[in-house]
């Protein structure tokens, strides 16, 4: 191809390609690398304190029975039949034999025959009914009602050809029985409004309306509208008993929860417990006035002390392990004395929330350590 001024195509094209190539060389020189896929691992930081405070549910705790919550013991124990579970219907393998009904005196034989066939086809619904506390026999005596309830239900599910006519008849009976019931209230309502009553009502309405219809601007009404009456407060309050009276049950359910697997509670940490112990012993050491021999002491008096919230003694200290050996009597009395002497035990405020845990302690006065 010749290069002429009128045809600059080759030069233009070559230049364009060269620049494009250079641009791509620059642009694609370093392909963007994929970010290395980082997997997120959830890490929970936990301090020593928090770790020692974890309260775990006890595995040996009593199992909570799946009882309904009951706040009170019921006066009359109710025994509600437990509703048949859904699974029970499915699990029943075969239709029970009692389904073959004895020939009823009032019924034809015809409807009875198709029944077993239906049951073979549709086993589940029947057994479920049967599992109810009342078995077949008690139901049978009242033939008409039981039939009326059971059979109309089954009918739509069953195949049409087998559906016998007779069962419909009782249904009609029950209808005619139940229908007469609603009408009576209606006629009784209407006569209640005597003409005299109407007149009285109208008169009252008139007297009520008249004063309210023409209130003049300057006129003072009898009742001030927004007058605050402090005596009327109690009238405004609701005097009804609270509706929720607590659920009742045969027995109280008092089982507390077993705690959560990861729950934390305001429990004294071992560290804090140690600190409190050493604090107490330090104070008791000041009240310890026993200078016995440092020989082999096989006896360590243990004193049970009960504190109040402020650290003072709530009860007289009691020796837990009294000894008969007279040689140790002085040691034991020294221990009790020490517990008595340090009466308002100084307990820092930080331990106040854990009062429940230190309110009753058994302190071992080991003469070796107290020295």
């Amino acid at each position: 191809m010749r290069i002429s001024r009128s045809e600059p195509g080759l030069i233009v094209s070559a230049a364009a390609h060269a620049t494009l190539l250079a641009a791509t060389l620059v642009a694609f020189s370093g392909p963007a690398q994929f970010d290395p896929a980082m997997e997120n691992i959830p890490v929970e930081m936990i301090s020593d304190q928090a770790f020692s405070q974890i309260s775990k549910g006890e595995k040996t705790a009593k199992e909570v029975k799946p009882l309904q919550k009951a706040d009170k013991v019921a006066d009359v124990a109710e025994h509600k039949p437990t509703p048949p579970l859904n699974e029970a219907r499915k699990d029943v393998p075969l239709p029970p034999p009692p389904l073959k009904r004895l020939p009823d005196p009032g019924e034809d034989d015809e409807p009875k025959k198709p029944e077993p066939q239906k049951m073979a086809a549709l086993p589940p619904p029947r057994p479920a009914d049967e599992t109810k506390p009342a078995p077949m026999p008690p139901e049978r005596p009242q033939p008409a009602k039981a039939e009326a309830k059971d059979q109309p239900k089954d009918e739509p599910a069953d195949a049409e050809p087998i559906a016998p006519k007779p069962p419909v008849r009782p249904k009609l009976e029950t209808k005619t029985e139940t229908k007469p019931a609603p009408p009576p209230p209606k006629p009784s309502e209407k006569p209640r409004l005597h003409p005299d009553d109407i007149a009285r009502l109208l008169a009252r309405a008139k007297t009520d309306d008249k004063p309210s219809l023409r209130p003049k601007s300057g006129e003072e009404t009898d009742q001030p509208r927004n007058k605050f009456d402090s005596n009327a407060i109690s009238r405004l309050l609701d005097h009804d008993k609270p509706q929720a009276t607590g659920s009742t049950g045969r027995e109280l359910v008092r089982t507390a929860s077993l705690g959560t697997a990861t729950g934390t509670a305001s429990k004294m940490s071992p560290n804090a417990m140690d600190a409190l112990n050493s604090l107490m012993m330090e104070q008791y050491m000041r009240c310890w006035h026993y200078f016995g021999t440092g020989a082999v002491h096989k006896y360590v008096p243990e004193v049970k002390v009960v504190f109040r919230q402020d650290g003072s003694l709530a009860a007289d200290p009691v020796l837990v392990n009294p000894t008969s050996d007279p040689a140790f009597q002085s040691l034991a009395s020294a221990a009790i004395g020490a517990a008595r002497e340090c009466n308002p035990l100084r307990i820092p405020v930080q331990f106040a929330p854990y009062f429940e845990q230190w309110k009753s302690r058994t302190i071992a006065f080991d003469p070796e350590e107290m020295r």
């Binding site: 009128s6 600059p8 195509g9 080759l10 233009v12 094209s13 070559a14 390609h17 060389l25 694609f28």
Partner: protein, 237 residues
């Protein structure tokens, strides 16, 4: 191959290294497609300019032709320099006309037919000038992707063979070869797409120009045939 590429054969995946690491066949395909692309764009640029020039010349000529100047005058002005488009048609027809009248006892019989033949030939010549090289665009547009695909298939083939040889199927080993191979198809498409678009556009332009030339030729031959008839009646009288 420069030493830098040898030092880090796999890690570098720039365009240039992709080209260098490709097998010889793929390299050839790439170079060929790049050349085709250059050529296509050359044709596109040239043809665009040519069409623009032709259209302008046609408009200019039509303006002067219908301005009322005498045909003789126009012919003497145009025949001095090379002409394009309608002007060349006009010059060719007028030359044939003049040649018929140069000899004293020239007959007008067959002059009309000769002029139309001359006009047809010059139309064909003009159209051929316009649409020359357009077939290259069509060829590149249709064959470019296939050639690129051939390069890709070849490259993938070789990369699979190297996988089989190295017994390592990790993506880091496979990926560069496939990227190289796909690069061939990319170049093929890069060449083919503009070629296809330009071919369709220019084909339309050529058809338009041809229609315009033909209509002008018809008009001009009508004028000339009127003149011939006039001359014939004059001579008969």
């Amino acid at each position: 191959m420069n030493p830098a590429d040898l030092a880090a054969p796999i890690a570098e995946v720039s365009i240039w290294s992709m080209f260098l690491h490709a097998s010889i066949v793929v390299q050839a395909v790439m170079i060929g497609l790049l050349g085709a692309s250059v050529w296509c764009w050359t044709i596109i640029v040239d043809k665009t300019l040519l069409f623009r020039r032709t259209r302008k010349a046609m408009e200019q000529f039509e303006e002067t032709f219908w301005s009322g100047r005498s045909l003789e005058e126009l012919y003497t002005a145009l025949s001095e320099r090379p002409t394009t488009g309608m002007a060349s048609l006009f010059v060719a027809a007028m030359r044939e006309w003049k040649r018929s009248f140069q000899t004293a006892h020239a007959s007008f019989v067959g002059l009309q037919a000769r002029i139309e033949k001359v006009l047809d030939v010059s139309i064909a010549r003009e159209v051929e000038k316009l649409e020359s090289n357009l077939l290259v665009l069509a060829t590149v547009a249709s064959a470019g992707p296939f050639v690129g695909l051939f390069g890709t298939v070849w490259g993938i083939m070789t990369s699979f063979r190297s996988i089989a040889a190295s017994k390592n199927t990790s993506l880091a080993v496979v990926a560069p070869g496939i990227a190289e191979a796909l690069f061939a198809t990319a170049i093929g498409l890069f060449a083919a797409i503009p070629a296809l678009i330009a071919y369709n556009k220019m084909q339309g332009d050529v058809a338009k120009a041809q229609a315009r030339l033909e209509s002008y030729a018809d008009e001009f031959s009508a004028i000339l045939s009127r003149q011939i008839d006039q001359h014939a009646s004059d001579r008969a009288a």
